[in-house]
């Protein structure tokens, strides 16, 4: 299949278009600016609409409207801008609408920096906005996987009527790799008979809503959403394992961090230290069972979560491992990317100490 060399942020745009997304609402923020620029150029060519909103808040509410009208729609931002979108994401989840939200993470808190970070893990996976909900969170680690997951993200959103977040970081957004867009098949999806397209005489009005003033009705809505989540957990959890078969230490890492860790694992192997990797591809739902299963194996002595944060995913790793083996953490934050040498040193420390 034909491959082209493209930048991560632009790949997101092309993958979205290939998946049938024709509406994009965004607001400028570094390091994701190539994505709205790509959509501004490409969407009019495809008969779609690119609109630069007056704020991230407006952008996500335009997504809310467009999704309610039945369209495949996307917005993107980076950490501080994603914080602003959280109110809208909560409404979208509460009203059970599909959309894809891209977060090309940078260092935080506050205005933070513009270098890559992974410190939005809690915000992305635990809900982010108010109320009981989760977006489905996808964490690609290569440009090809970025393309594949963006395309699949639209299907997941439509299949479960739930927002999907593609969680990348500034490194992934800015790097170039060969990519092919031929892989998208598309799932069989239910018709969007709930969309606000104009009430025809044969049906009652369609109402997109997340307000239920009667607490029983609200609880029913939330229980319905959480029933869907059980299906998502049963069918959509995905992770990659690398050299875990005889590993003494298993590292947990996702996205850009997992790329660095893979190199470290090969170097450790050359030095006789057996290390493996579990790389969650879905951060929500998290592959808890995978961690539990590997933790039960006698050859696995310890886990190490490596992140570009002060330790966020490590909490889910601990839930998965559930006390069976020690779980360690190593991370840098604020836009600093852990170096292979320091990760290797951390591995040796754990290998020597256990």
């Amino acid at each position: 299949m034909e491959k082209v060399l493209m930048k991560g942020n632009e790949v997101i745009g092309e993958a979205a278009i290939q998946a049938g997304c024709r509406y994009f609402f965004g607001y400028p923020i570094t390091p994701q600016n190539e994505l709205p620029a790509y959509m501004a150029r490409r969407l009019p060519q495809e008969g779609g609409v690119f609109l630069q909103a007056e704020s991230e808040i407006s952008a996500i509410n335009m997504v809310y409207g467009a999704a309610g009208a039945g369209a495949r729609v996307m917005t993107s931002s980076s950490s501080p801008g994603i914080s602003l979108k959280q109110e809208g994401i909560s409404y979208i989840a509460g009203a059970e609408l599909p959309c894809v939200i891209v977060n090309i993470m940078r260092g935080g808190p506050g205005l933070g920096g513009i270098q890559p970070g992974q410190a939005d893990y809690f915000q992305a996976t635990k809900g982010g906005g108010h109320g009981d909900y989760h977006p489905i969170v996808l964490a690609p680690s290569t440009i090809q996987e970025l393309a594949d997951l963006v395309m699949e993200g639209f299907d997941l959103a439509d299949a479960y009527r739930n927002p999907v977040m593609v969680l990348g970081d500034g490194m992934l957004g800015q790097m170039m790799e060969p990519v092919s867009f031929g892989g998208y098949r598309g799932r069989t999806l239910p018709p969007k008979d709930w969309a606000t397209t104009g009430k025809t005489p044969d049906r009652a009005p369609n109402i997109i809503n997340s307000l239920f003033i009667d607490p029983q009705e609200l609880e029913d809505r939330v229980l319905h959403i959480y029933e869907k989540y059980e299906t998502v957990k049963a069918n959509e959890v995905r992770c990659e394992t690398y050299r875990c078969e005889d590993a003494k230490i298993i590292i947990a890492a996702y996205g850009t961090m997992a790329r660095v860790v893979k190199n470290v694992i090969d170097r450790a192997a050359a030095e006789g230290v057996k290390v493996g990797l579990i790389r969650p591809v879905t951060l929500w739902p998290f592959p808890y069972d995978e961690f539990a299963e590997w933790a039960a194996k006698p050859h696995v002595k310890a886990f190490l979560s490596v992140e570009m944060s002060m330790g966020q995913m490590v909490e889910d790793v601990r839930l998965g491992v559930n006390g069976q083996k020690p779980v360690h953490f190593y991370g840098r934050t604020g836009g600093m990317v852990p170096e292979p040498e320091t990760i290797l040193a951390e591995i040796k420390k754990i290998a020597g100490g256990e």
């Binding site: 509406y23 609402f25 609409v49 609109l51 909103a53 007056e54 704020s55 808040i57 407006s58 952008a59 509410n61 335009m62 997504v63 809310y64 409207g65 467009a66 999704a67 309610g68 009208a69 039945g70 369209a71 729609v73 109110e87 809208g88 409404y91 009203a95 606000t196 397209t197 104009g198 009430k199 025809t200 005489p201 009005p205 369609n206 109402i207 997109i208 809503n209 997340s210 307000l211």
Partner: protein, 246 residues
């Protein structure tokens, strides 16, 4: 027996929850009559606000979308960009539109978004129990301006229609009142003009309706109607503020 007065088709049978003397009911009816007369019920999508009209999605018999506080024009933009041949309207109060949603309404207007906004200005937050609104008059007593709105502290009321009329994307901006029958008739004409303006693709249209809140103003329905005439209209002059011909 001949029917001489009926409920518009574009209203459902759900009883309004509004207080006695509140003019939301009048304005809902005017909007529904206009939808009927223009025969656009099947292509109309309404956006309900946060505020007293939050349940508007139960009252209009057309597809409806409930927005977050202040965000109705952004939601309407998303819908209209996907469905340019449909008719999209927002129904918003003064806290929703002129306070938390100021950015959304200004930018929807300046983009010339082909939507219609019905803006209910009753100079107070109704749903939350009578707090000061951006449109509360100087000296007006509310729960958060208990000594009367002091413009030195709380600033001045916003004249939304005049502000929006400066924007090139705004095609029809008009302020009306519903405190008596002649004004109600004029208000309906304005609403019809605003919807027609959207259908003809001229740009953004808004009708500001001076309205009552007898419960939170602490007045009888008639006193409230008189208060609109005597206090609101002098501060918020009625009339067409902007009109773009084809």
């Amino acid at each position: 027996m001949a029917v001489v007065f009926d409920k518009p088709r574009a209203l459902t049978d759900t009883p309004f929850h509004y207080c006695p003397g509140c003019t939301h009911g009048i304005v809902h009816r005017l909007v529904a009559e206009v939808i009927d007369e223009l025969d656009i019920q099947e292509k109309t999508i309404g956006i309900a606000p946060v505020g007293c009209a939050v349940f508007a999605y139960n009252y209009f018999d057309c597809d409806m979308h409930e927005a977050a506080h202040g965000r109705a024009p952004a939601v309407a933009t998303g819908i209209k960009r996907v469905l340019p041949d449909n008719v999209v309207f927002t129904y918003q109060g003064d806290g929703d539109l002129a306070s938390i949603g100021t950015a959304e309404i200004v930018h929807a207007a300046t983009r010339g978004e082909k939507i219609t906004t019905i803006f209910i200005n009753n100079a107070i937050y109704g749903m939350t129990g009578g707090q000061m609104a951006p449109t509360t008059l100087p000296g007006q007593v509310t729960t958060t301006s208990p000594y009367g709105r002091d413009t030195e502290v709380a600033g001045h009321p916003v004249r939304v229609s005049e502000m929006l009329s400066t924007l090139d994307g705004a095609a029809h901006i008009e302020r009306v009142s519903v405190h008596d029958v002649p004004h109600i008739i004029k208000a309906k004409k304005a609403i019809k003009k605003a919807f027609t303006c959207q259908i003809e693709g001229k740009g953004f249209s808004l009708v500001e309706v001076l309205s009552t809140c007898p419960s939170n103003w602490g007045m009888t329905p008639q006193e409230a109607m008189d208060w609109v005439r005597d206090n609101m209209i002098p501060y918020y002059p009625l009339g067409v503020k902007k009109e773009v011909e084809a």
